[in-house]
Structures are given as structure tokens and as C-alpha cells.
Subunit: 344 residues, 4 copies
């Protein structure tokens, strides 16, 4: 399944070192203003080399809109976004053709398909997120038209919580030929109450899926998250007065439906698996080998996860927003915009 969403459906394609990556968006409303420059700006934020210590691969990504936009506005038909790979160096990966890199998807792809495109991880590469960010730039346009905005920040790197501490941890890992993980917080403000569906289509369930679908993410929490497991009901419940909620321990979602308060999500990012320190592994023939992964790799990909996590949250919210439009004309008072709770 390379499609995300029920209503605003994004299908991505492309390998790290193939000719191109891209996305087809099906279900975008008509009349939304969008340009290639809007999307390029979003791609610029996820680009490596923007942060110190990041991969030296130069991705001068430029999108081409192949369909679904006419005279600067969406028409309601599918939007194909194409990004050519310009700095792919497949030959860099010849040495990895028959060996499984620890912490990577090499072994599992081989087990699943009986074959794999070994050039830079192929489809499992972080580069695949280019397509997500491009598609989400369109989603963000729809959301901002409804007053919803999304942001993110790094809150922890290898245990450090101050900017200086984080930089020190990354530098130290780089020096050792090693890598470090961290935690990113993503938030959405201006989101109306009423988004999300009960039971399996809960807004937080879809957010969790969206976040965990990012390669390096190993944990997701909403609002107080794991800290809630150490709280009492009287501490965790968000009480209300006539102006709205008095706190936001729930992170803006109750019973799987948005409350109108800020949506707060945190994701745990594992340390980059590509490290130059020697590791034990096997090759496709089952023979034991050692490996030292050199090349253009980030000692810490946490800074690059932010824009991707924002993209995924945008895709979840635009989908829920469209779903809620579907029933709005039947809800009493459905003509008026859905009310937004007070934020805390």
C-alpha cells in the first residue's frame, strides 16, 4: 500500500537512486491555489545540508506539476507531482548489493519480495519522503484556507534538551562514526472540533499510523502520552468551563475526535542505522560478514524528521476535514463553521 488517505488520497512512487520520485493526489478539492514554487519551498525545508552534520547529498529538488492544476488552481482531477533524482550515485552502492546493513530494511525486503533494488535502500530510503512533503504542500494549502496551521520542534537529542546539548551530542556521535536519535513534537492549531471518526478511524489512530510510517520512528504519543500512564484521572482529565477546556492533557483529541484544542503529537526517532563503526552482519548467501557503512549519511536525522512529520499530520487532517464536510449538511447547525475550542 503506497496510498495514504481515504478522501485526500496520496499515492507515492520512486526509489532513492531511480530516475524520479513523486506523488499522485486524488481527491483534492477544486479551486485551491498552488504553484511549483509553493511546493519547492516545502521541499527546501526537508533538504539535507540545511542543518549542520547532515548528509552531504545535494538534493536540489524541483517539482514538476504534471496534471490537475490549470491556470494556477486545482481542478479537482488528480495532481501528479514529479521530482527527478539529480544527484543519485547508484555506483556508490555496488558494494552493498549482496550484504544486509544492520538496522536497515535490506534483509526484510529480500525476505518479502525475494529481490530488491539495493541502490541506496531503494524504496525504503528516507529520500522517499520527498514525495510526501510535496503532496503535503498541497494539503497545507487546503488547511491554511480553513485556518489550520502546523509546526514542529526538536525537543530531545540523545537525552539532551538544550540546543547546545543537542549539537554536542550530534558532534560527538559524528566523531565516533556513530549516530544518535531524538524526539520531535508536532502540533496543529486552529483545528475545529469534530474531526476524526469513532472506533478504527480515530484521529489519533490515523496520526499514529501516519507518524509510524516514517522510516525512523519507533514511538508515537498524543498529549501526555506515556506520562499519562503515571497519572491519576483527576490529574489527566481536562475539565471545562464556559470558555472551553481548562487544560490539554488529551492533546486535542478525545474519543478519537478533535476537541478544538491544539493537537499535540510526539515521535521517537531512532539513531540513523548507517554508521561507519564496524558491525556484524550476513550476506544474501547467508555468509557472515562485517560492514562499515560509509558515504553521505546523517549522524542524526532528527532535524529532518520535523518537516516530514508535519507533512504526515497535514495529510491526516485534510483527510479528516474532507470526511467531516461529508456529514456537515446533516448535522443540526451544520451550516455554520464547526466551533473551535479555547486553546490552553
Amino acid at each position: 500500500m503506497n496510498t495514504f488517505g481515504r478522501n485526500f488520497r496520496v499515492t507515492t512512487f520512486g526509489e532513492s537512486h531511480g530516475p524520479a520520485l513523486g506523488a499522485v493526489i486524488d481527491g483534492c478539492p477544486p479551486g485551491v491555489e498552488i504553484s511549483e514554487e509553493d511546493i519547492d519551498r516545502a521541499l527546501e525545508r526537508r533538504r539535507p545540508g540545511v542543518h549542520p552534520f547532515s548528509s552531504q547529498r545535494r538534493e536540489e529538488d524541483r517539482v514538476e506539476i504534471l496534471s490537475g492544476v490549470y491556470m494556477g488552481r486545482t481542478t479537482g482531477t488528480p495532481i501528479c507531482l514529479l521530482v527527478r533524482n539529480t544527484d543519485a550515485r547508484p555506483s556508490d552502492y555496488g558494494a552493498l548489493a549482496d550484504v544486509f546493513r544492520p538496522g536497515h530494511a535490506d534483509y526484510t525486503y529480500q525476505e518479502k519480495y525475494g529481490t530488491r533494488d539495493f541502490r541506496g535502500g531503494g524504496r525504503s530510503s528516507g529520500r522517499e519522503t520527498v514525495a510526501r512533503v510535496a503532496a503535503a504542500a498541497v494539503a497545507q494549502k487546503v488547511l491554511s484556507g480553513k485556518g489550520i496551521s502546523i509546526g514542529s520542534r526538536i525537543i530531545e537529542v540523545h537525552g539532551a534538551t538544550s540546543p547546545e546539548g543537542m549539537e554536542r551530542e550530534i558532534a560527538e556521535a559524528a566523531r565516533l562514526g556513530d549516530s544518535v536519535g531524538g524526539v520531535v513534537e508536532v502540533t496543529a492549531t486552529g483545528c475545529p472540533a469534530g474531526l476524526g471518526d469513532p472506533v478504527f478511524g480515530k484521529l489519533d489512530a490515523l496520526v499514529a499510523m501516519a507518524m509510524m510510517s516514517i522510516g525512523a520512528v519507533k514511538g508515537v504519543e498524543i498529549g501526555d502520552g506515556f506520562a499519562a500512564a503515571r497519572m491519576r484521572g483527576s490529574e489527566h482529565n481536562d475539565q471545562m468551563d464556559g470558555r472551553g477546556f481548562l487544560s490539554n492533557h488529551a492533546g486535542g483529541i478525545l474519543g478519537g475526535i478533535s476537541t478544538g484544542a491544539e493537537i499535540v503529537v510526539r515521535v521517537a526517532v531512532k539513531p540513523t542505522p548507517s554508521i561507519s563503526r564496524e558491525q556484524r552482519t550476513v550476506d544474501t548467501a547467508g555468509k557472515e560478514r562485517t560492514i562499515s557503512v560509509t558515504g553521505r549519511h546523517d549522524a542524526c536525522i532528527v532535524p529532518r524528521i520535523g518537516p516530514v512529520a508535519e507533512a504526515m499530520l497535514a495529510l491526516v487532517l485534510v483527510d479528516a476535514l474532507l470526511g467531516q464536510e461529508m456529514i456537515r449538511s446533516w448535522t443540526p447547525g451544520g451550516g455554520k463553521p464547526i466551533s473551535t475550542g479555547r486553546e490552553t
Copy 2:
């Protein structure tokens, strides 16, 4: 969306205090042995009153198989499972008709639909999980036929990690008219390598969605999870030798695809929102009120989450297993059963 899964599709229905709850399973393979007794046994495990301090509601749940099973075996057609509500007491909830209980979905349902069934939370009640557990009992039959087994254990209650400590925390909360949360670990063993899809259909993404779709769950992690954020790549990577993986920090999933090692998932459960301590809230007219939720409620629902989390993991795995069957005849060596990695 009240349907879970792509291949083994489970649609649930029913409210806490309506006539019945149930599930329709579409896509179950033919020839699987299943009886009403098998399902009743699974329901027994999630029943309140089995654990001390749990809700006093007596749910003598008995399933009726209405279709899709003939002479003790599935036929491949949809299986409808029905559980009547026998101890529903809608009149208990009359007082709550117009007031929003803090920490519950009352407010968000009202905002979403402009109406709600206020009897015991209606569809957002924990009782809805009866349908999931019943459907998953069928899934477990399919899985156990392939050598896959699933289990769970409570690893923390309000910070306590020993059985005695946990019981003390629950008793103390009950005494205070309050409640506590905790953490549950769910695992699957015997799962072959190769399950799950790249990108959006990653096995861990689906597990995260499945777990977060359980009402009280506010966080999900796979393998080392949030701890991975504080690790170096050299610590977190699972190296291999000729016999398989040397560790299982990844929790059995790499690049969204199962490795063959044990699948390890942990979920954060929030404290039960229904507490008798007085809380501030508003009613449907927006007027400020105070509320003390009395009735048959658990001071800690963590013990009851285990069977539900197992059920959700079973649904994810059976779905992935069927998906992998689809491509098996095209994978080289696809005739043989998929290899299982060494567990650690």
C-alpha cells in the same frame, strides 16, 4: 470508518446500552475450524469482574454466529458475530444526558454529529471492544494454524512495576474515588519474516493505528521505542550472524516489514476518566456544571486492555499474512513457507 483491515476486514457495530454489539468478518479464508465456544472463551478474558477492582457490570457475554460458518468450519463468506447486551441499564445514564463528562468523548461526539447516544458512552464505550475481541478470536485461529501466537502482560501501573505495587496503586486510587493508568506490553512469536508493506502500509504503522484505536491508549512504541531516542546507532542496530539477529531492539520490524523475530509493542493507557471526585464541566447548553461520575466503573482499566491489545495485534497480523500470500507465488522460492528468524 468502523472497518479494520484490507484483506481480513472486520466491521463492528453496536452501542454500550443498545440491543447488541457485533462484528462482520469479510475475507476470512475457508476451512478454518471455529465454534461459539472458542469465541466465548476469548470474551471471558476481557470480561469485567475477572480482575479485582474492575467494573461491577456483569457481562455474561455469549456470542451467536449468524453466518459464514457451516458444519464447524468457515466457508469463505462473511461471518457475523452477535453479542446481546444483557445487563444494560440505560436508566443509569439519564442524569448524564445533557452534561459532558471530562475525559470522555461526550463533547466531541456532540460537536461531530450534533447528536449522541448518551447511554453509557454509546459507541465510544469500552464495551465496544467486545466486538473486536470476538472477531479476533477467529483471526487467532487462522494465525495459530500458521504457528503464530500472541500474548500480553502489564508492565506498569501508575509507576509501579511489581504486582504488589500495582495492586496497591489501584486500591489507593479506588479509595480516593480516583483512577490510575499504566503500560501494557503485547508480543507475537512465530511470525514469519516478510509481513507488512513498505511506506504507508508498514507493519508497525498498522500496529500503531490498531493500538491507538483502543479508547484509552495515548501512546504506542515498537521494540525499544522512546528509549531508542536516547541510544546510539551502535547500541540500537540489531547485528546478525549466520543464525539470525543477535538482538531485537527493533521489536521484530525493520523498514515496516517483519524480521521473523518476536514482535514487541507497548501501549500507554490513560487513567479511567470516570471518577467520583468532583470535576468542573459544562452541559449541552454551555452552562457551567460540576460532575461526580458514579456507577460501575474500573479504578484501573489497564488489566482489561491486554486482551483487547492482543486482539488488535491479531487483526493486523492476519491481514498482513493474507496480503503476503497474494505475492508468494511470484517470489523466488515462494513455494516454501516464509523463513522465520532466530528469536533472542
Copy 3:
């Protein structure tokens, strides 16, 4: 796949001679007035024995609403509709356990699943349509609230087009222990322009799927249908003046999207395969046999197809209507109800 629809999703279950049949509707808007009596009335129309020469099976079908309706109105949560089989006589079918009835799905089910429920055709029985008609009764309530109404009429039986001729053909077939087919026309009026999606989700494509999913249907046409193949463009094109379309050769759908004119569909119904005349067949062991199918069978099921075809058209239209709501707030002038073309 026992689910129909993307937005108003109907999942049906149940076998002809099992305990019950039913449907779960997921995605019905909240606030729609519906009662068990409304649904029973719809079921009454498809009941055998209403028309002369029809099956003597007595189906006193009574629906039970198990969920999703509270105080006479839908709540937005899944609606489970249950109809018990009260006049099932599985023992009638013992003789057919191991032989394939010509024109029936016996052979193909056996090939597909390696097993089958042979009692009265099991899931492939026409009785399965009880669930469709029940679910569509809810859809019709949604549609009629938007001014859309659906009807059908028999236009041909075994070549006869007059009521007397049709009755004569059926009587003659019955006398011979044989059966006859016919053609039914289904129409929808009041349908706004703009329903349906381009390309694969064309409204006529979904109508065709819906109609051909009825057991006995072997052909579907929209508007002029097969007659259009013998026309010139100048005859078939529907020209317009300031008041709307001047004709309706297109049957209310152009480019897969409704025009606002009456939607006109015709379906070809094959003769009932159950006949008492002796036929050649084989049994499950591959041995040659002859068979004479006796029991309670219609010599002509055409009269009973009308209500089912209406039901399927209702399901298609309610789904498209909800889909169009989703983008309505983005279309210029989307606040106003979608315009309806002049009908001809």
C-alpha cells in the same frame, strides 16, 4: 468483498438457510428518521408470493435494528439490520449436497473455496438481496430528504411487452417446468447535476457494477444503451437550450457525472436456472448425473428484480451524493444546492 460503497458503506452477511441475514451500514449521516416499519415496508415489496407464479417460500421478513439509531433517528454510528430466517428448510436441499445445479453458482463456489454451504445456494441465493433491500431503505430516506426518488418497471418478459403477454409467457414456462427471463427499467428523478467521479468512479460505471452484482443480471445499459450503437452522433447527442437538455439519450449521465436529467437504467435478467426439466450435470466426484430441480422456485424472477435494482441504484446515488458534499464547500457557489437540469 461483501461491502458496497465508499462513503455510505453497506456490508451484508448471511446465507439463505442459515440463522439470519443482515447488513451493517457505516457512514450514514446523523439525524435521519428511520424505523423498523419503514424497512419492513421495503422488504414487503421484494417478498416472494406477492406476484403470481412466484416462489411459494413464505418470507415474513421482519427487521431488527441493532445499533446506530436512537430515539428514531440515526446517530452517525454503524447501523446493524438483522432479519432472521424463519421459513428455512435446509433438509429440502440434502439431495443437492453433492451435485452441481446447471446455471447456479454451485460449481464455481466449490472451485473457489474448496467447500460450500449447499443449503439453498447459501450466500449465492437470491435471498441474500433481503439485506440489500433493508440497507437501501435507509439510503432512500437520505435521498428522499434531498428530493431524489427511485422507481422501476418491467418492460419485457421472454420477448413480450404487454402485461397480458408477460403473464402468458410466465404461465407457459411454469406449465413446461421451465422458466423465462426479461428486462427491467430503473429510474431516478430529482437527482442533481454533478454526482459521480471522472474516470474509474463514473456514476454509470458504479451503476453497472451495482446492477450486475444482482445474481440473475447479465446485461446493463444506460439511456439508449445498445441502441446507441446503431445511432449517429446527430441523433444521440442531447442538445441544450436555455432551459436545459432537449432530449435524454444519455440517460442522465455524461462523462460519468449526472446531468440533472432523469437517470435511466435497464437490466437484462436471465431465466431462473432452477427448472424441473431434466438436465445433464456432474457431481462433486466428477461423475455424470441428471438433475430435475424441484421445490419452491419462481418460473420468472423478473418481477422480484425491480425492488432489488431500485435498492442498488439508491445505494449508488447516496454514496455519490455524500461524495459530492465533500467538495461542495470548495466549489464556487457551492453553498447553494446543486442545480437540477430540466427533465424531458
Copy 4:
């Protein structure tokens, strides 16, 4: 919905006179041999100008495979196929910007989206089928590996059934500035028994949807189709002996599941709506106008429907084939290839 299929999912994009058209295939099994030349050959068959009297637009379509294929074989990841528009002449359509062409989707797109890309019909153009044919070339590779082959023939043009008669009808229509319709038959041989699902996912229901999703198609029939409505059961039933079916009135599908006999489908194609004869219409402001559609148009598109109908049948069958693989390991004797009935 611009996606077709559940298992072998094809998403198409692109407008007639935009930069490009294309398709993303998600769910193609790994290891299938495919080249750009294979796909170009399929595109060549649907190209205008191959048949006399066809559109003079020169479509020298060349596909580019952007992903999912490595070293000449599919990898299991999504396959993006891109075809650039090289002979688009959007300026030809300036005159049509504000007027609705009779028989075209102009009016309905405007009603649906409140906007439209008027260049050559945009997304509703027959040129959109380039993407379907390209994707189906991959599907055909999968099918031919399982011994299934698909073909088509024109059986009627404006009532004429002989080649000479058909050519005469087309020439006469061209001379008059008019157009004609016809009937195409599509068949599949080598298809195993057991494909397709009961109830809504019937193989014939999916075939009907697939065919009716082709722009000009107004009717679909399987096997005897509408002729079955004029038959008796004793004539229409396909009896069996020990070697298989004695006839194929059912067209290879019973109860929605393939019988193993040849699958036979016929589609009614309406006359091309673009004619130079003057017609009445209105413009976007509602003002009455007359229109004469000149430019590069076919007087008869029936010859070009064949390859597209074959493509759609291939997509339906590959999807059903993959679906059946999913349950094959559970069906008794499921290890062996599914048996194929005798063809007649």
C-alpha cells in the same frame, strides 16, 4: 476516484492537453519481466491514425518507467509510467472555453467542480486511456505468465456486421460531418475457475464497472446478455458432462465467479459526440448558442475501443487472480493450480 483495483491498484493522472499522462501501479508482484518497449507496443495498438477515418492527431506515445522496475524486472514497489503529451494543441480549444459541447462532459464537469480544464476535454478526453493501456500492458505480462490471454473484435458498426458494411457506414458518417457507434466483443481465454467474489465483488460486476468506465460505453453484457432475457432456462443453462460445460451461454461467469470457460463481454459504443454538423447548446453564462465541432476527430471510435476494453479486462482479471492467491493456501488442494474447465 482515479484508482482501479483492490490488489493490483492502478491510479491514473493527466489531461489531454496538459504536460503528461500516466499511471502508478501499486501491488504488482515482484519478478515480472517488463520493458518500455513492451508498453510502447501496447500503446501503438490504441494510437489514432492506425485505422482509416480515425483522428489525425499524431500521438507518438513513448512511455518512461520511473520506478518499480530494476534490471528489467518488477521489484514489488509502485511502478510509475509516464507518457508526455507531444502533439497537444491547447490553442485549438480556445473557442470552446465557454461553450458546452453536446454529448461531452463539459457541462457536467462545470456543474461538479465549478471549474474545468477545457483544453480538449481535459481529463474526460479519450486520450486519458493512454494511461490505462500502459498500466494494462504490465497486467498482461502477469496474466500471460499464468496462461491467460485477452483479445477483442468489432462485431457491429451502425448496424453493419460485415467489414465492408462497417467501412461504408463510417465513410458515410464522415462525409455527412456526423459519426456512428458500434459494438465490440472482448474475450479472455485460459482463465482458471474460481476468480471473483460473491455478492458485490462479482467478477461480472467488476467487468461491467470496468467497461462502463470507458468514456463512450453505454451498455455492457456478459455471455448471452440481453438475449438471455428472451430465452428459457432450458436454453440458457449450461449443462455439464464429465469433460466440462456443454455450452457457454453464461460467458464464463456463474454466481460472479469464473467457470474456467472463455469469458465473453460485449460493449455498446455510442457515436462520437464531436461532429461538425451544427447543434444547439448553451454557454457558461446560460446563453443559447450553436456549435459545430471541427478539428481532429474520429467519425467512429469503435476501432479504438477494442484495445482499451482489453486493457480494462486485463486489470479486472489480474486483480481477481491476486485476490484468489490470498485464499489458495487454505483451500483443500489449494497447492495445485486451479482447474480450468473445458472451453466450448
